[in-house]
Amino acid sequence: MSSTIVARVKQRQIAQLISLGKRLDGRGLTDYREAQVETGVIERAEGSARVLLGKTEVMVGVKIEAGEPFPDVPNEGVLTVNAELVPLASPTFEPGPPDENSIELARVVDRGIRESKAIVLEELCVEPGKKVFVVFVDVYVLNHDGNLIDASAIAALAALLNTKVYNYEVKEGEIKIKPGYSPLPMRNYPIAVTFAKINDKLVVDPWLEEEQVMDARLTITMENNGKICAVQKGGYGYFTTQQISEAAKIAHEKAVELRKRLVKG
């Protein structure tokens, strides 16, 4: 459990530096770590991406399968997001059914994509009320060094932008794949920006040791037009209303910056 416990001395050092506006790894309070995005890394998947955010590493694979629509939206495809905190990624991750952390991670990523209506789900309908395409977004955390939410949201978006929908025809109620494909129809690019509150200051993109020192966490997901499409507070502490307003403003700037790097053209 060596990497899960931060020595008191180091905790104090992290907190003291932050109150001076500095961070242990040399970043400013609102700086992201370097993000590297690679897409198409899994040929078997219809879409995939691998994201490195500092040392945090997340892989996302997108699979598309035929399925049934939800009865209340019979002419829309279905989005399903799942997250696995793979045991090889951290000594704190254990094999077994998803725990509350992986469920929360998946649901926050899901909320950003769903509420911003990022995928044009209407175009994934094969036969209204009967057959649609189901988009499975599987988030695979491969190394945990903090801020899994932002890394997973970036990886999910990159993988969706990399996703192919194969051409098909319907014969006797069955879907037959034809040669050729088109990109998954997308209309929005949600970006999650996560803050940690440490010593009453907000820092962007906390790494693992900062997460272990933080009082609380706040994720704000921004869509293309600068609107907020999802928010999630986590952790045992709290935020004041002033801190929430400040976070919303920083999230807006950071999302524009990240989106520029991620979505070309």
Binding site: K227, V231, Y238, F239, I244
Partner: protein
Amino acid sequence: MLQKVPEKLIDENNVRVDGRGVNDLRPIKIEAGVLVNADGSAYIEQGKNKILAAVYGPKELHPKHLALPDRAILRCRYHMAPFSVQERKSPAPSRREMELSKVIRESLEPSIFLEYYPRTSIDLFIEVLQADGGTRCAGITVASLALADAGIPMRDLVAACAAGKVEGKLVLDLTDLEDKGGEADVPLAWMPHLNAVTLLQMDGMLTIDEFEQAVNIAIEGCKQIYKLQKEALKAKYVTVKEEAEE
């Protein structure tokens, strides 16, 4: 039991489907100390929501390896009865219930002096008997009261309430119908004495301005709910006192 979906959720006079104005809470009834076996308990009715909460502890913790040397752990289960919603809900915990159990726990933890009870657990059970939107918030409101009823030392009561956007207008305390048909939902929990927001979520779409307004509207709702919580707590001890004097 089918809900009729009206054409408009808010009419031209800013009156909502259930007759409320945009900044009105639903009628709320709260009672503390409703279960005899629990160390603390409470019941809330907020509109059609009916929710029970019970607290057991601080008590010895099983399994023991979860114990913390310097404080108690708070365990929370938010659960919906199979008959609480339109279509029967499987009694097995869903992913939504798992997430809500986590965020509810995290919304209450800042209010409790957990460090007073090292190596123990405080177990909190929230049962939604009937749901009509805003159950996580009503669940927090009633759970905080149950914790106080259990005599657990607290920094403040936590009151919770949602605000949201329905048909272009910001409104307080959304019903299920308004949540589903609306544009955004912002559940929030608040500790008045610390100006502390302990739960904050959002889904839907809001500009930054609207979001900040929604936060303030929800806090106004929390202020009203906080008063009701305190009254409920006092009411219980008035009864206890009367019984003792008889």
